[in-house]
């Protein structure tokens, strides 16, 4: 494997008694769009600022293309940053903003103009050179900020929740634009967000972070289908996390007990004993009239029903189990609040996680 673009070696950052980053180790290969995903305070922004050079780690090292940059200040690192809020220099027009890095580096005027035009074409703002920031919309300002960063051909482009200040509609458009820009430039992107939907839509790989630690690293599909912890399961996408007992297990499946019900689920080398069953809401099927089925399907009571366009979202209280199950069904599955129903799911849609004493603190709400 080729050398990683960015390598973090046991990076820690403490602010007084607070540990923002705890011995974090991570490699980012060139050309990857990597997302740091986690709730606020998980250390993702601190990590980004450490890569950018605005913060020094309390311990550990940062390498970019093999070179140790741990003590190199921000202005001498091959990284560029796009902030959460659009931060254009208000006294300069778009040309002055995008050309700023090249002016500091004393690039010739003609080359500056050519590269600015290229960068603006990349973000679809051709001919905007003479506009000033107050003449631009929020989305356009972030595009200029993106052009201003990319025009310097950084080894790593760092994006700190760049879409969070924008309206939902603009945000969705900008996601498409970001994917396109990433494809066209082949640059390495490190993207910080707390929005799991955004992370899934954009990333090659997702790093799920919690309390200064890496919970899981994987492709969006891996993280979604095979979360490594209850935290990752409930943070990335909606998940039902049910307490079950593994009764039998082999290499590819397990028989679990949920109350008095028995279900065979796919699992890898599950251990016998208590476990969490992770079940995505869209994998749950809801059927009416439990008397007709007569099988072992768990029965429940519809507590809430909401139409969401592509179907219904139900909250179903499972009889005798004291848990509420979230189900997202197609529009053909119509049930009213108060209806008695049964629920069913595919063995392949499930995922098992160990449930030990130390995990009790992480019990999902």
């Amino acid at each position: 494997m080729s050398e990683p673009r960015v390598r973090m070696e046991q990076v820690s950052r403490r602010f007084g008694a607070v540990t923002a980053l705890d011995e974090l180790t991570l490699d980012i290969p060139p050309g990857e769009l990597l997302t740091l995903l986690g709730p606020s305070g998980c250390g993702k922004t601190t990590l980004l600022r450490i890569i950018a050079g605005f913060e020094r780690p309390s311990s550990g090292r940062i390498r970019i293309d093999g070179a140790d940059v741990t003590s190199v200040p921000a202005n001498r690192r091959p990284t560029n940053l796009v902030f959460q809020r659009p931060t254009l220099f208000p006294h300069l027009d778009v040309l002055g903003n995008v050309a700023f890095g090249m002016q500091v580096a004393r690039v010739g005027k003609a080359e500056q103009r050519r590269k600015v035009a290229e960068a603006l074409a990349l973000v679809r703002l051709e001919g905007y050179e003479r506009r000033r920031s107050h003449e631009l919309s929020g989305g356009q300002m972030q595009r200029v900020a993106l052009a201003r960063a990319l025009v310097n051909r950084p080894a790593v482009l760092l994006l700190d929740e760049p879409l969070s200040a924008l309206d939902l509609k603009i945000r969705l458009e900008m996601e498409v634009e970001l994917r396109r820009v990433h494809r066209e430039t082949g640059a390495t992107f490190v993207y910080v967000t707390h929005d799991q939907r955004e992370a899934m839509a954009l990333s090659d790989r997702i790093v799920v972070m919690d309390r200064g630690r890496v919970e899981q690293v994987g492709t969006p599909a891996e993280v979604y289908r095979r979360p490594s912890s209850v935290f990752a399961a409930s943070f990335v996408g909606d998940a039902n996390v049910l307490p079950v007992d593994v009764l039998e297990a082999d290499a590819t499946s397990a028989l679990v007990g949920l109350g008095s019900h028995r279900r065979r689920v796919e699992a890898r080398d599950a251990a016998r004993g208590p476990a969490w069953l992770v079940l995505r809401p869209e994998a749950v099927r809801v059927a009416g009239a439990p008397a007709d089925v007569g099988g072992d399907a768990p029965a429940g009571l519809v507590r809430d029903a909401a139409f969401r366009g592509t179907g219904f979202t139900y909250r179903i209280e499972l009889t005798g189990l004291g848990v509420e199950l979230k189900a997202e069904t197609p529009p053909s599955s119509v049930h009213a609040v108060g209806d008695r129903v049964t629920v069913e799911w595919d063995a392949s849609a499930c995922w098992l996680l160990p449930r030990g004493g130390e995990d009790e603190a992480a019990t999902p709400a």
């Binding site: 940053l81 208000p90 006294h91 107050h134």
Partner: protein, 282 residues
């Protein structure tokens, strides 16, 4: 506020206040144009002879030149020192930041008399003979808090993310200050330097203690008042008033223009403290 009839009392008070403020100044200006040497009514016709006399007087010219030298040196000195102090303190993460800022502000509360005596004692102790240099140093001490207040407010209003952005794009600290910080605040800083100039140009009490053999315009006015009273005093005072009013106008205009430029749209003048400074200087 509910819209209703305006109280006639409020209007009256406003009018009385304005008359008290402006009537003496108007009378001073009026009699500077008097055709005779009398400073009281009846008014006996207009003439510019007192202005001509004042502008021809070698003493007035020398005092005016001294005032300009001292005020210019004070303004430039304050601009440099005050900007450095304000920039350093707004960007500092030190725990001493609060106390130090207060220390820079606090001299604004010192009475001129106190400052004058203290400076005089200080200069004597230091073995400095009184000259325009000592006046300039004393004026620096006097106007510094006014400048510092304005400069600190302007620098604190800047978005720190912009300076980080410049560093991220490869600029070192100095380049960041020159290309990002300064372009956003220089109108306010130059405006505040005009304020410093005006404060120094008008200053009397402190100057009186530390001046030595030279004279400045306010001192000249005071000493000629002790000799004779004729409209030439009014002429000088009117000129002084017009000049400092012009400087204050430049201060306010620069500040509001700078703020507009920084925000990219219209904004109100940020100089809430100009009136206080005017009051103090008057």
């Amino acid at each position: 506020m509910s819209g209703g009839r305006r109280s006639p009392l409020a209007g009256t008070f406003t009018l009385v206040g304005l008359v008290f403020l402006w009537a003496p100044l108007a009378l001073m200006a009026l009699f500077s144009l008097h055709a005779t040497a009398s400073l009281s009514f009846p008014f006996e016709g207009f003439s510019t002879r007192w202005y001509a006399q004042v502008l021809d007087s070698p003493e007035v010219r020398s005092a005016a030149r001294n005032s300009l030298i001292v005020a210019s040196a004070t303004a430039v000195g304050t601009l440099v020192l005050g900007t450095l102090a304000a920039y350093g303190l707004t960007r500092s993460r030190s725990r001493l930041r609060g106390p130090l800022t207060l220390l820079f502000f606090l001299p604004i509360t010192l009475p001129g008399l106190f400052l004058g005596v203290a400076m005089l004692v200080g200069f004597r102790r230091a073995g400095l003979s009184l000259s325009l240099l000592t006046v300039t140093i004393a004026h620096l001490v006097y106007v510094f808090p006014f400048f510092f207040m304005v400069a600190r407010a302007a620098l604190a209003r800047l978005d720190p993310a912009l300076e980080e952005m410049a560093m991220d794009l490869g600029a070192d600290r100095f380049t960041t200050f020159r290309r990002v910080t300064l372009p956003q605040v220089w109108p306010v800083l130059v405006g505040a330097a005009c304020l410093a100039f005006a404060l120094s140009f008008d200053e009397f009490v402190i100057t009186f203690f530390v001046i030595g053999p030279d004279s400045t315009l306010p001192l000249y006015v005071w000493s000629s008042l002790r000799r004779t009273i004729d409209p030439s005093i009014n002429a000088i005072s009117t000129l002084l008033l017009l000049f400092t009013t012009l400087l204050f106008a430049i201060t306010v205009l620069l500040a509001s223009w700078g703020e507009r430029r920084r925000k990219g749209r219209t904004a109100e003048a940020p100089l809430g403290l100009v009136p206080a400074a005017v009051e103090r200087a008057g």
